[in-house]
Symmetry: C3
Subunit: 208 residues, 3 copies
């Protein structure tokens, strides 16, 4: 049973490595103010996203091939899908920014990317602890789920303050449209990251 | 088996009580034309939404702890998630209205909030009847699923007429953007409420 | 067991017939530049969509009634839901175009509708092959999943190029808002069609 266990957990860990890498690239992407530099970084993000897709496929194929899994089949499936949603949204956020080329959006994008990076790291830590569930050492995962909750709340505040400020000063409707759509994707990225907490909790309770 | 049964059904009922309370507050919110009054009502909606989140968590934890459930585990899970989506969208609609501060939107918002309130009441009635499934007295649930279908159709009409009218008279693109996004959230709220019908039907057929 | 098998597969085939019919109508819809003509075609699309809803309901009811299914219950459910999402989005795209009445959108809409038509045909071919899974003749389905992947990539390119061009020349924010929302729905339609590949793969692996 142990080899199987290592297989799934090692695939899930590789996936979270990709999510962290993508989030780091997103921070770099936002900090770069030059369009060509951003395009280059976006290419790297796209590359990471494709790699994570392959890992997700591997997890699904492995699930369909394997009878004994370290925890419930459906929970592994959900966890992989939801981690994949996170990197997809990181990719979509960068892509939309490249396409829309908005004016400078103050520091909200940078703060949002920073929160996404912290959430990615938090997910990585939590997933790495999944093999210790049997030992009832779940303290680390609990700390991370609380941290993810706080980061998600911060992202909501950044989003709200950005919208209030944008509607207060921006008079160009096209620019407003672009910026609303970009900040919405970044905020959705934090939503997707936070949604992973549900399945982590389900797994923890099942192995309580 | 009966105590378990009561537990899940009573949690689901509490959740629909929250959805109805949230919908009533949304009607009040829309009727209030003063920004500060709306902010105060939004705080109450947020409070209800947080309370419903806690109930959903309780249902999930209970599901993970309990072996025997009144109907299929996955159906209880789906029902709780989908009810939670309804209160989340009520909350999001009010929040977006507070953030965007649109001009007066005619009576479409009020009609839409009224439809959401009726749908919430319909869900509440249907969920309260779930304990009578074994007695083959499913007439009440069937009436409610038909009513939810009609209410959803009405919401589609309100949405369409609003958009046609908005694009016909509004010349301010920023105002248009705000109003489109708000009416879309209200319409999505009715979609989410209507989606609950699927799982109600599934449960009914399984216990036919 | 065979009669059951035929029942599900024949319902799924009827559904994909509807999706193909809807996609063909969408191509016609986009090619028609007259508003009244478009309204007439939209009525036909809506009719097809309602018919597909009924087929989906039949599949769900049949699933709840039948103990032995040709492949896993949850996979049939997912397949039917996801096919239904495709026709829903075709309907929503036409409906939004009728409501928004955008100016001419170049040939992007026509290309997008053409891609959706090809994806629908691809899904139809793949679903018709599902009864040959036991014979390990899965080559046709594999060809279709690759084709769907390529079509989805083409749709992404069309979307990107459209947005770049739109933001480059359109100065009317209202017009821009309308066109962004319409092209986004068309692109989401191709996403939904591509998502069906997941469940097709799952089914193929299970019967490997």
């Amino acid at each position: 049973m142990l080899p199987k266990e290592s297989k799934f957990l090692s695939l899930l860990r590789s996936h979270t490595d990709g999510v962290v890498e993508g989030a780091n690239l997103l921070v770099e992407f936002v900090a770069a103010h030059d369009h060509d530099r951003r395009k280059a970084i976006y290419t790297e993000i796209k590359h990471v996203e494709t790699h994570c897709d392959q890992i997700t496929d591997e997890i699904f194929n492995e699930l369909n091939r394997t009878f004994i899994t370290p925890f419930d089949r459906e929970d592994i499936h959900t966890l992989a899908s939801q981690l994949d949603d996170v990197i997809d949204m990181i990719n979509a956020s960068a892509k939309r920014t490249i396409l829309y080329q908005p004016k400078e959006m103050g520091d909200s994008m940078a703060i949002m990317a920073g929160l996404i990076k912290e959430m990615a790291e938090s997910l990585q830590i939590a997933v790495c602890e999944l093999d210790k569930l049997n030992n009832k050492k779940r303290a680390v995962i609990k700390v991370q789920t609380r941290r993810l909750h706080e980061l998600e709340n911060s992202a909501d505040d950044v989003y709200e303050n950005f919208i209030i400020s944008l509607f207060g000063h921006e008079r160009n409707a096209i620019e407003m449209l672009k910026q609303v759509e970009i900040i919405q994707l970044l905020e959705s990225t934090t939503d997707k990251a936070y949604r992973v907490v549900d399945v982590l909790k389900t797994i923890m309770v099942k192995y309580a």
